[in-house]
């Protein structure tokens, strides 16, 4: 907590000065918050680089890491919207599976094969809007609604493919799954998956920080009744954020389908929601709502991907990977708490 006392006292004497000081302190804090887990991420990268005899920081491996983080980044971006309003979306993994199934099934029809991408994204959006409608209009708890749709949509995903793996080795736009965008031929290229993820982050940032809707999302998370009294259509905001989360889960499904050329209603996207939520929380977004930034989410998603990649790279066995991942997550948050000590609580 800043000392209002001091600023209040100083104000009459030199209001400009006090205000400037206050603004500066705030800005420092904002940077600390935004930078967030970046130090942890860097530490992990360097650690893995050393332990893997310099295999981590190679162009190829970095490419792999960002590619592996892409789908989770997209899901976590949607989750950020939801958590900013103080909600949660447990159904993203199931929605991803259903969307991928719907997309791949459409892709097999020669006539409208290329439509599979919008179909996948729309499928996701529709499920998301259903979630949002239940939460906003019937005033049900987000946790229970999305827990219900976690199960129900999973069932729908399985029904779509009659419980088999749908695969299409010649799915249109497959390049987004495995190709890379060449910037300087032969030297710099970025995996398309990562390009999409970055675009999603950028657009999310624009929406959250540069539009009226963004302010309304933060307001609903900060104080829902105040938002309602200020004339904000809280229900519309809620339907929007769950819609976005669903839509991005649909996009994630499309990305996964393009990457794997296949989808399975049961196996795809299992417990992705936990990874997405972890990324958001690691990124410093508060569960209570109203506080957080999309850039933090990006860092959080990268931490998770680096952890998975690095542990395999240095040859840690599967079992120990579990143990270490769990401890790193707790450790990272504890470190963060320690670092932020004294500044705003989350």
């Amino acid at each position: 907590m800043p000392d209002n006392g001091a600023s209040a006292k100083a104000a009459p004497a030199a209001p400009g000065l006090a205000a400037a000081q206050e603004t500066k302190r705030q800005r420092t804090r904002a940077i600390v918050r935004a930078v967030g887990m970046l130090p942890v991420l860097l530490l992990l990268c360097i650690g893995f680089h050393v332990l893997s005899d310099g295999r981590f920081f190679t162009g190829q491996n970095i490419g792999i890491v960002v590619q592996q983080s892409a789908v989770n980044t997209v899901l976590a971006a949607g989750m950020t919207f939801v958590i900013l309003t103080g909600g949660i979306d447990l159904s993203v993994g199931s929605i991803l599976a259903a969307s991928a199934m719907a997309g791949l099934i459409v892709s097999k029809f020669a006539d409208f094969g290329p439509l599979w991408l919008p179909v996948a994204v729309l499928t996701g959006a529709v499920f998301g809007i259903l979630n949002g409608a239940l939460i906003a209009l019937l005033r049900l708890l987000p946790f229970i609604v999305t827990l219900g749709s976690l199960t129900a949509v999973r069932g729908a995903a399985r029904l779509l493919g009659a419980d088999t793996t749908v695969f299409n080795p010649s799915v249109p736009y497959a390049f987004i799954g495995n190709g890379a965008l060449t910037l300087i031929p032969g030297i710099v290229s970025i995996p398309w998956l990562w390009v999409i993820a970055l675009l999603v982050i950028l657009v999310s940032w624009l929406v959250l920080k540069r539009t009226v809707l963004g302010v309304h999302i933060y307001a609903v998370g900060g104080n829902e009744s105040a938002a309602r009294l200020a004339g904000i259509k809280v229900w519309a905001v809620l339907i929007f954020v769950y819609g976005v989360s669903g839509l991005l889960a649909g996009l994630g499904g499309a990305m996964q389908a393009a990457r794997l050329y296949a989808a399975n209603g049961l196996q795809l996207g299992q417990s992705y929601e936990l990874d997405a939520i972890t990324a958001v929380i690691l990124g410093g977004t508060s569960f209570v709502g109203g506080i957080g930034s999309i850039w933090g989410t990006l860092v959080g998603a990268l931490i998770i991907a680096v952890l998975s990649n690095g542990l395999i790279l240095i040859g840690v066995s599967d079992v120990w990977q579990y143990v270490i991942k769990g401890l790193v997550i707790i450790g990272a948050v504890a470190l963060d708490r320690y670092r932020l000590q004294g500044s705003a609580r989350t």
Partner: protein, 292 residues
């Protein structure tokens, strides 16, 4: 005695293998009695859930339980309970202690032929990775079979066998990406099932690594397609299973026991056949209808 009602508990119904299994069981059951009531459930690799399902089958009063046991030993007590209620229990795909009969692919042999193919291809010399999966008995057996073969060839070096490809394309892709970065030279990869093999191939193609022999076990529809696909040239073989037939046999055996015909041996091991790029044309696959 007529088969009126049958309960089937399988690993995971989202897995095409088990779907083929359930189709086979259904086909055979309907053949014996067109009005048979069939309940098929997946236990999602949760032992507790499987025992619960068996209890529910007992309550529902089924005549026959077809079981893909979560663990060869651990479901023993539950099986006893079902048998005490007068229900015949047949295990499929994985052996189960105490079951009236077991029909399964010889998973050890499947691992053996799949890895023997690698040994032959490499001429008995090279660096091989065993890409492991979820530690269920079928997977454990395949790895045992593979190790049997590789162990006999001193020229073969196993680089790693402790990563879990989760039995899925995605898991295979992720694990293989790590492997390919970690090891500069890999001659062959044995994946414990088909989806992992395909994921592994995708990783290799992405990193433009060639000359890796990838083999697997299952003979699933997607590996069939891969074996015919010139782009997936590194996927070279899969030791096939025949879930449809396996389930039919299991139901046949079960109905036999219901009518007092004890099978010759309680365990019936169905041999696995290796499907390669050369013979994939003749492979009948899982989904083709066979009312043989």
């Amino acid at each position: 005695k007529e088969l009126k009602s049958i309960g089937i508990s399988l690993g995971s119904l989202g897995n095409p293998f088990f779907v083929a299994l359930s189709k086979g069981a259904e086909f055979e059951a309907r053949k014996t009695n067109p009005n048979v009531k069939i309940t098929t459930v997946g236990f999602e690799y949760d032992l507790g859930k499987q025992v619960t399902q068996i209890d529910n089958f007992i309550a529902a009063g089924v005549d026959l339980i077809l079981l893909n046991p979560g663990d060869p030993k651990a479901v023993g007590p539950a099986i006893k309970k079902a048998q005490a209620a007068g229900i015949v229990v047949v295990a499929v795909d994985t052996a189960a202690e105490g079951a009236d009969a077991t029909v399964t692919t010889n998973n050890v042999q499947a691992g053996e032929i799949s890895c023997q193919y690698i040994v032959d291809k490499l001429g008995g010399k090279g660096d091989v990775i065993i890409e492991n999966g979820p530690q269920v008995s079928a997977v454990i057996d395949r790895v045992v079979g593979c190790k049997n073969v590789l162990g006999k060839n001193p020229g073969i070096k196993v680089l790693s066998n402790d990563q879990d490809g989760k039995g899925s394309r995605e898991g295979g892709l992720t694990v293989a990406q790590g492997y390919l970065t970690r090891f500069a030279k890999i001659d062959a990869i044995f994946a414990i099932n088909d989806p992992q093999a395909i994921g592994t191939d995708l990783a290799a193609r992405q990193q433009q690594r060639t000359g890796i022999v990838i083999t697997a076990v299952d003979g699933a529809p997607d590996i069939e397609a891969a074996l015919k696909d010139p782009q997936a040239a590194q996927i070279q073989a899969s030791a096939s299973q025949d879930p449809f037939f396996m389930a039919r046999r299991a139901v046949q055996v079960g109905v036999g026991i219901l009518n007092g015909q004890k099978p010759a041996s309680t365990v019936e091991l169905l041999p696995s056949k290796l499907v390669t790029r050369d013979n994939v044309g003749e492979y009948k696959g899982w989904t083709s209808d066979r009312s043989q």
